[in-house]
Structure formats: C-alpha cells, structure tokens
C-alpha cells in the first residue's frame, strides 16, 4: 500500500503495510533520527512526535491511521544552526546525559507549551509523567522547559 503523509511540513509518499507503526516509517523511510525505538509498547515515550498537534507514541500508531494529520518530529522544531527555544534551553541547561530520551522530553514539552505557555513546575512534571529518563537528568529537564517557557513564542 502507498500512503501520503505530511511530516515537518513536507508531503511524502511511503509504501508500507497499513499496520506498520509510524515510528519505522519516520526512521527508515524518511531517515529521521529524532523519534527513537524504546519499548514498542507505548510505555517509555522515546518515540514521541506530534500527530495532528497531539503528543503521540509513534511506536503504537499504525501508518493507515494517520490519514491527513500533520506530523511534527524533533527535526521539525529546529536545526543544529537554528535550534528551537526548547532545544536551545536543553543545550544551555545540559539537560541530557545519553540523550536517548531527549526526543520524547522535548516533544512532550512542545505539546505542553502549545497548550499552556507558562506552566508551573508541577504542570511540567505532570506533562512528563509518562516519559522515562534513566540517566537521572530529570531536574535539568524541568529547569530547561521552565527557561524555554520564558522565551518569546516562535
């Protein structure tokens, strides 16, 4: 089957079985590195992206179910040269160790700031409740998101 999906503002045609988890299409057909395979069970959040503006576990959503919902991945936020305020805040706070969970953290933070531009620390922690970090950089992540929220909206 071929499907047309819009990722980071660009339209792509992909040929894959309808039940294919979106994660593998993003990583392997589109060559994106942001979304990561963590568990394949929707438990850890490493694969998160925004689908139709909603924080989504891409390991657990089928290609056929995307329809025309626009997809935004980590790459769609900013670049090495022009990082998004969230990415810049994570760099400034050195809010990562291995960085494998960072994709999910930043995407969950993006979803939060889109609906609540000035969250409290408690609201930040709530928004990240289902995002797992193993290196122990939680406090830096919260502080990076707090700082990013102070930046003018882009």
């Amino acid at each position: 089957m071929t499907y047309r999906i819009t990722v980071n503002g660009e339209s792509h045609e992909v040929a894959a079985a309808p039940e294919t988890p979106l994660l593998y299409v993003l990583r392997n057909d589109l060559g994106l590195n942001g979304p990561k395979f963590g568990c394949g069970l929707g438990q850890c959040g490493a694969c998160a992206a925004l689908v139709g503006g909603k924080l989504t576990r891409t390991c657990s959503v089928a290609l056929a179910d995307i329809k025309d919902a626009p997809i935004v991945t980590l790459e769609g936020l900013g670049t090495l040269q022009r990082p998004h305020p969230l990415q810049k805040a994570f760099i400034d706070a050195q809010a990562a160790q291995c960085g494998y969970c960072s994709n999910g953290m930043i995407m969950a933070a993006k979803a939060l700031l889109d609906r609540n531009p000035k969250p409290s620390d408690e609201e930040i922690k709530d928004a990240l409740a289902d995002q797992l970090c193993r290196c122990g950089t939680h406090n830096r992540i919260v502080s990076a998101i707090r700082k990013a929220a102070m930046e003018p909206v882009r």
């Binding site: 590195n33 850890c44 291995c98 494998y100 409740a129």
Partner: protein, 741 residues
Amino acid sequence: MSVARLSRRHVTQSLGVVLATFALPSPLAFGQAPANVPFSLRNNRKLEGWIRLEADGTVMVFTGKAELGQGILTALAQIAAEELDVGFDKIRMVSADTSRGPDEQYTFGSQSVEQGGGAIRAAGAEARGILVAAAARRFGVRAEELKVSNGTVVAADGRRATFWELANEGAGLLKGDIALAAAPKKPGDYAIVGKSVNRIDLPGKLTGAPSYVQDIRLPGMVFARVVRPPRYGARLLACDEAAVRARPGVVAVISDGNFLAVAAGREEQAIAARDALAASAHWSDDAVELPDMASLRTELQKLRAETIVVGTAGQSEPVPAQARRMSAEYSRAYLSHAAIGPSCAVAWLKDGRMTVWSHTQGAFPLRGDLAKVLGMQNGEVDVVHVPGAGCYGHNGADDVALDAALVARAVPGAPVKLQWMRDDEFAWAPFGPGMAMKVEAALGSDGRIVDWSYDVWSNSHAMRPGQAGGVNLLAAWDLKTPFVKSPAPHIPQPFGDGDRNAVPSYELPRKEIRNHLLLDAPVRNGSFRTLGSHGNIFAIESFMDELAEAAGSDPLAFRLAHLRDPRAQAVLRVAADKAGWAPGRKGDGQRGRGLAFCRYKSIGMYAAVVVDVEVDRKTGVIKVLRVVMAADIGLVVNPDGAKNQLEGGIVQAVSLALKEQVTFDRRQITSRDWSGYSVLTFSEVPNIDIVLVQRSDPPLGAGEGSLPPTSAALANAFAHATGRRLRELPMTPERVKATLS
C-alpha cells in the same frame, strides 16, 4: 561454612584467570609521579596514535575510551586543547575504534579521566613541545623565548607560525614513541580544564542529527531481530523456518543450536517475522532453578562459594571482654541496566572482513571474543564504538554485537542492523547481581568500634567479554557448537568485585572482611554501576547508624570519630553544614533525615550525602524530599559535567533503593517490560544540591561514586523517620508497610 584463606596467587590459579586480561591498573597507577608512564600510554606509545594535525586546521585526537552519555569525549577534548594550547573548537575526537585508535581496553570504573586523560595530557604536552622546538629551529631562537596561543607559536620579534605550518616541515615530526620529554602544564596554569563547557555531542543529539548506532544507515542494509529461549536452560526442539522464510520481506532465518534470528528488508517485517518465528518455536522444558525471591538473602548464602579474606587487621589482639556485640544482615535485589533504548549493533561482512558498530564499553576485548566465535583472525574483525542509549555498565551491547555479526555472516555483503526488543533487554542482558551482607561489630566502653566482622555474598560482577578461558557473549553459549563462559576473574582490593567497598574506610583496630564469590550463577550477572559498592555501602552505612544509636552518638560525630582522612572528614562536614544537620534531632514518625559517607573504591572520589524523606505510613510510599551531597573528585575537568554525573547517580540511587528489582519465579525472569521494572519518574525525583569541595590533582573519577552513599543515606533517613529499619533493598511500599505494622 569454612573460610579458606587463599593467597591471591592460589585463587588466581584456581579460577584459571590471567589477571592481565582484565587490564586493571595497579594501585600505584593512582596518584602517580610525573615520571611514571600514564596507564593508557603503556601499550600505546606512538604519538601519532593519539594526536594528528589535520589539513583543515583541526586536531584529531584518538581515544580508546567511549562516550557512554557521561560526557567523556568533551572532558578529553578539554584536556587535549589545554595541553596543546589550541582552541577547544579545533579538537575532533575519535573514540574507541579498533581500526584506528589506541587500545584502552574498557571504559569503566570511573577511570577515563585518570587513564585516558592522563595519556592525552602527556601526548598533548609532547606534541606541543615538539612543535615549539621546530619553531625555535625555524626562527633561530631558544624555545623558552616562544609563546603559544591558539595553535600559533609567536616569537618575541613578532614572527609566527601555526602548528599546522610547522608540522608540514617534516612528515615524521609528530611520529614515534612518546618520550615524556615535555612536562604537562601545572593545574594552576589551566585555562580550559576546570571550566564548565557544553558537551560537544549534545547539540546533534538534541536536534536529531545521526548520533547513535541506531541511526546508522548503510546502502542495502537489512534489519534483524533475535528470538531468545523462554528461559535460561531451555533448548530449541523445533521451529518452522520455511514458513517464516516465506513471510514478506524476509531475507534470512538463522537457526544454530538455540540461537534463532531473522533478517528482513524492512524493520517492521523483521519484527513481525520474529513474532512468527517465536510462535513456531518449540522449546524443551529445561530450566535453571532460580532463587526464591521472597528469601533472596538466605538463598544467596546457600550457593557454592569461594571465600576470600579481603581485609584484615588486629586479629591477633583479643576483643575487650566488656565490648557490646551487635549484628545485622542486609540484602540487595538483582538490578537491570534498564537503558531507555534496547541494545543495538550494525554488522557488515564484506570482502572477508567483519566490521561491527557497537555501543560496547570495550571495543578491543569485544573484537577478540567476536573473532573467536566467528572463527576469524582479530585482524579481520573491527569494532567501532558508536553511542547507544545510556550505559551504566555491562548491558546487552556486546551480546547484540555478536547477534548482528552472526546474522551478517548469513547475508554476506549486506549490512545488518539488529536491535533487541524491550523484552530481550529486560530478560537477557546481564544484571547487577543480588547481594547478601552480614555485619557484626563490637562497641567499646568509650563508644568506639573495637571489632568489625563483615561478609558479603554475591556472584561475580565482572563477566565481560575479553577474559581468558572462554567467551562471554550470550549467543556464543547457545550455538550448536557452544563456547564456554569465561570464569570470573579475581579483582583484587581496593577495586574489588562483589567486595568493592566491602572494606570500610573507617579506622577499625580489629577487623576481618570476607568476600564469598558465589560460583553457581542461576541468574545471569554482570557489571552494574559501582559493582558491589552499592550493596556494601548500604550495609556498612546502615550499620554505622545502628552502632551510633547504640553508642548514644550522633551519626555525624560517630563517623567523624572513626575517620582520620581529612578529605573524608571535609565532605561530611560540608554536606552536614549545607543540609543544616542538627545533632540529636528526632524523626517524627513521618519525616526523617539520614547521612552516609563513601570513598568510592577506597581510592576514588569522596562523597557524603544527607537525604530527607517523608514516609506515608498508610501507602508505604517513601518520598525523597531533598538530597545534599558534598563530593571531592580531585581534579575537576568540567565542573558542570561532573555535577551532571553526580546528579544522575543520585537519582539512579534513589530509584534503586525505592523501586528497582528484577523479578523472577523459580523458572524464569518475569520483569520483561516497564510495567514489571519501575524506575523513578519526574514527580518522585528530589531536589538535589551538590557541592564540589576540593579541586586538586589527581582526578579521582566522578562517574559512579555518588550512588552508594545515596541509597544508604535514604535507608538511614527512613530509620530516622520511623524508628524502624529496612535492611532489604528495594524499600518497596509492601516492605515499608510490613515494617511499620
């Protein structure tokens, strides 16, 4: 149980182990005199093996150490820039690569700044000295009259030459053995080392640049998955290879003994084929009988053991007759590495050479074991380190590298990317071993400890590849023609294995410490951050509080009275001050505060921790409110990077102490996803204050030492809050409720 006092030589022989293969530095390697050869230089003496000036005006620095998420490449780049006097932004790091880098064995034990950094420091100083000498010849002046800044040598009269121009003069200029002729800078002259700089790898990782082994994409690459047995010991009886081979996209099904794998053109096809292969497989009912989790401590104590006395003093003196004797027993559960990304490797057999990209901690040792299993020469196999998800020790990285290579051998010419699924990782990666500890001590009439007796039981925490006498890779044991496991090596004190930090840093006039290395390993074990130190410090520091209470002493004063080392005393005092430690303050049944100290490996970093907790007596949930740590890590290369490591260790230690345990019934591992193995989440992470107290040479390592005292201080805080002590980790709500009822 009888206690055999074996000499080190005897033990080494009886275990059939060659110590050198483990590449431990001698204790003398620590705090070495400048004339000594840095540890990592000893087998890698060529200057061009460490530093190369590139035509584009950058400096290539080669290291055998690997980026595990700890920021080591950034710290090593700081050291290189410092000694060479070139801009930090000009340094390009090449990490652990058997085809072009120095062999530094493993990245472990919080030793990379000391070992790898020591080598780069010497190589950088040597290269700078050679280039300055070349400039002196060119300008006809004495070297002492020249200044170096940003990679440019400047004479008093204004003439100048860049390092790159000078290097062009003679192709052999920066080649040959490092003579250690140039003295490295003194720490007082440092401009880059000691400054917080941002990690060089994070901008890419945070914007989706290809950064991980999972991100490698090669032309014609196929995706592979493995099917493991349902439990330890099960043998493959049959599986329907033909049906799986006929599935969409499948290019190979590999069945060799109990090793099963599948490769397909697309990743989701490989995963679906894995499910089909697993469903079609019939396994024997064989199982390894696993310990009863409900009584882990006594179960461990029943296993066959090799007992070694690892510390002794004053045994010829009698214990004073009026001394008050106390004892207690403790345990710690088996622990999972639980990295967010399952282990992954890319392998490619091309023109008779096998190249494996891996997040291993030891590229060279892994290469050796891979070559053995593949029946190839070491020179025909290359292992290139590429970061994976967080690494806290010997996880599945090495195992999946062999899995990928076995699949690559079946599809020659095609690169193979193989990532474990979540259940592969949780069920089959090596665990941090469960541990049992027993302390017995006597207090004299003056309230000081007059006798100390300690036992620790655990499997080897050191089952990495690259050791003599076998192959330590999972699939190798499952092949039709299987390889045997290497026997556990003997790791002498002060490093130790299960006995790491079993010998207290306290002044004890009479003591005996015994390590019972368990020889039967029903559960697969390996190195998890701090090895036995986490369990031993939990027991020792818990018991120090129990003794202090019996002696009517404040926990802080009691510890200070038994410590002579001023750096140990300093971290305790600073942590106590920062936390507002108030002697004699009582817990109120809910809130409490605990203290603990550890000098990691007895020769590494010092840390003292104060932990505040709140106990919900109804739910049994312990909430950690605040953690204050004072740490002395010696020379600090990157203060913020070091703090990040210490913070991470604290969070991980709270997680270990409150939540983490690998679960199993008597036949198989049952914690196979995140619902079965919980780690600390955002709302449970405490506020953390860290003070770095001293910054003198040499570096003492910062990667691990914050964990052991944090779990221990947490246990002490619970006891302080409630008046009841938990002597088993993790301190789950069930255990809390049982203790309080």
